[in-house]
């Protein structure tokens, strides 16, 4: 077997670390045109879809005849312009031209947040709730201007008011004070022809008129 001087390279050895690996992978990627084009198209699709959807529907409301663009409806506001949350559940029963409704409220309990209330409509505070009834909390017969959210409402109290005084909604009426005990456990709403009258009483005492109105 012939002995021979092994080959010695004149070539300077380059690095073979992470930088070289990164550079090799980058070269690999950019030298296949399809990969580059595919990646660019992918990025454009993702960004484009995002932009398109945010442009076409700002808050994801399905378009309706009343709101064809699907734009966000303004949050419901009360008469004072503040945001309110109203929700209703209706059970209907015809009353006829004359009749009365009598309601008895024996107790009213509630919980309220001690920190400043959230301005976001619909957000229900879950922590830091203190048992207690706010001064604006009412139960009994509540009269509202209409069924839309935030419309003016009133809960009659025994006060010498000749007409139903439509009061601003609850939030703006919030005052410090103790929760109102059920001083007037009975409230009655009478209608005779086009006259309405609201009266209240504690157990045993005579009915006192609270408010009256005439319609038509």
């Amino acid at each position: 077997m012939s002995v021979m001087t092994p080959y010695r390279s004149e070539q300077r050895a380059g690095g073979d670390g992470f930088t070289q690996l990164l550079r090799a992978e980058l070269t690999k990627f950019r030298t296949v045109r399809g990969w580059v084009i595919g990646t660019l198209v992918g990025v454009l699709l993702m960004v484009g879809l995002g932009v398109l959807t945010t442009k076409s529907s700002q808050c994801g409301v399905p378009p309706t005849p009343a709101n064809p663009s699907g734009a966000c409806p303004a949050p419901p506001t009360g008469p004072g312009g503040e945001w309110v949350t109203d929700a209703f559940y209706f059970v209907r029963q015809p009353l006829g031209t004359s009749g009365s409704i009598t309601v008895r409220v024996t107790s009213l309990t509630g919980r309220y947040a001690t920190h400043a209330g959230s301005a976001v409509p619909g957000e229900i505070p879950t922590a830091d709730l203190t048992p207690g009834v706010q001064p604006w909390a009412k139960a009994g017969i509540i009269i509202k201007a209409d069924a839309s959210a935030g419309s003016a409402c009133s809960s009659p109290r025994p006060a010498p008011t000749p007409r139903v005084r439509v009061r601003p909604p609850r939030a703006s009426r919030a005052r410090s004070g103790t929760a109102r005990p059920a001083a007037d456990p009975f409230t009655r709403w009478d209608r005779a022809a086009n006259r309405c009258r609201i009266s209240s009483t504690s157990s045993g005492s005579p009915w006192e008129p609270a408010a009256a109105s005439r319609s038509g």
């Binding site: 021979m4 080959y7 070539q11 690095g15 073979d16 070289q20 090799a24 070269t27 690999k28 030298t31």
Partner: protein, 306 residues
């Protein structure tokens, strides 16, 4: 650093197949070592083990005394071509070499050098997917040469090459060895290695059958045989067989005789007035030597045609 490949006692089993069964050989600098054997003899598996692509069940494969995986700047220690088809078809040949070069901190200058070296100068900017197998072989060899390594290993580099390419490849392999590199070339066709390899490692069924120089192998296969050229073939066969020789007709007017010296053959033919044109020591082709060695080691052999 030694420029060698040392394979010692490699064993590897794939399920029911014992791919390597104690493979042991050495590739030394300055010569082309042919790595030959029938299909399935374990050539490619051995090369994969050398590169650390397959883990052997037993044995070691060292490049310059170290396992390939522990080499620093591996492309400048061992250049290899296992599968010429293993490239991204829509990347150009030049860019294919470029990313390999970048992985070793080499630049565009070296890439252009190896492109010229393998004769792909005019087509290097074409997509590699459009390359013929022969061109891919050249590209693979260019990649193996990027790091200018002292050890080279090619698996079936002649596959898919046209005659011009085969002639070029032979010369190229010889020139690499002449520079002092260790070159290991596998092939299942001996004729491809006939004028290329200096040393042969013949394998079959996962182990080395013969590890010798080409001259030794041919000598062993030719041993004691005499070629006789005669116009009276049948008469010559009768006379020589009667004298105790083993006679085989190897062509029209051609006999291969063993068991008798050439002097005795000449004497017999002349004594029986049989005309002959030539009596010479038989020189086996590498193919014959190989067939003799691997006769028992072929896994898949066609039945005799009827």
């Amino acid at each position: 650093m030694e420029a060698t490949i040392e394979v010692t006692g490699l064993r590897k089993r794939f399920g029911a197949v014992q791919a390597l069964d104690g493979m042991t050989f050495m590739v030394v600098p300055g010569q082309v070592t042919g790595f030959v054997g029938p299909n399935g003899a374990g050539k490619s598996t051995t090369m994969r083990v050398i590169l650390g692509l397959d883990a052997p069940d037993a044995g070691t494969a060292l490049v310059g005394g170290q396992p390939y995986a522990s080499l620093r700047h591996p492309l400048s220690r061992l250049g290899s071509l296992l599968d010429a088809g293993a490239l991204q078809p829509s990347r150009s040949a030049r860019n294919h070499l470029m990313w390999l070069a970048h992985s070793q901190g080499l630049g565009a200058r070296r890439v252009d050098q190896v492109i010229e070296l393998v004769g792909l100068g005019g087509t290097a900017r074409r997509k590699a997917g459009g390359y013929s197998l022969g061109m891919r072989q050249r590209l693979g060899i260019a990649a193996a040469l990027l790091g200018d390594p002292p050890v080279l290993m090619f698996d079936e580099p002649f596959n898919g090459m046209d005659p011009e390419g085969i002639v070029w490849m032979r010369g190229f392999l010889r020139s690499l060895a002449a520079q002092g590199r260790a070159v290991l070339v596998s092939s299942h066709l001996m004729s491809e290695l006939q004028d290329t390899a200096d040393h042969l490692v013949v394998v079959g069924r996962g182990l080395v059958i013969a590890d010798a120089s080409v001259a030794e192998l041919i000598g062993a296969a030719s041993d004691g045989r005499v070629t006789v050229r005669t116009s009276a073939r049948d008469q010559a066969m009768t006379v020589l067989a009667r004298a105790g020789a083993e006679v085989a007709a190897t062509g029209p007017g051609m006999l291969t005789v063993s068991g008798l010296s050439s002097e005795r053959i000449v004497e017999l033919l002349a004594g029986n007035a049989i005309p002959f044109a030539e009596v010479s020591a038989h020189r086996a082709s590498l193919e014959e030597a190989y067939m003799e060695l691997t006769r028992d080691a072929v896994d898949f052999r066609a039945g005799v045609a009827r």
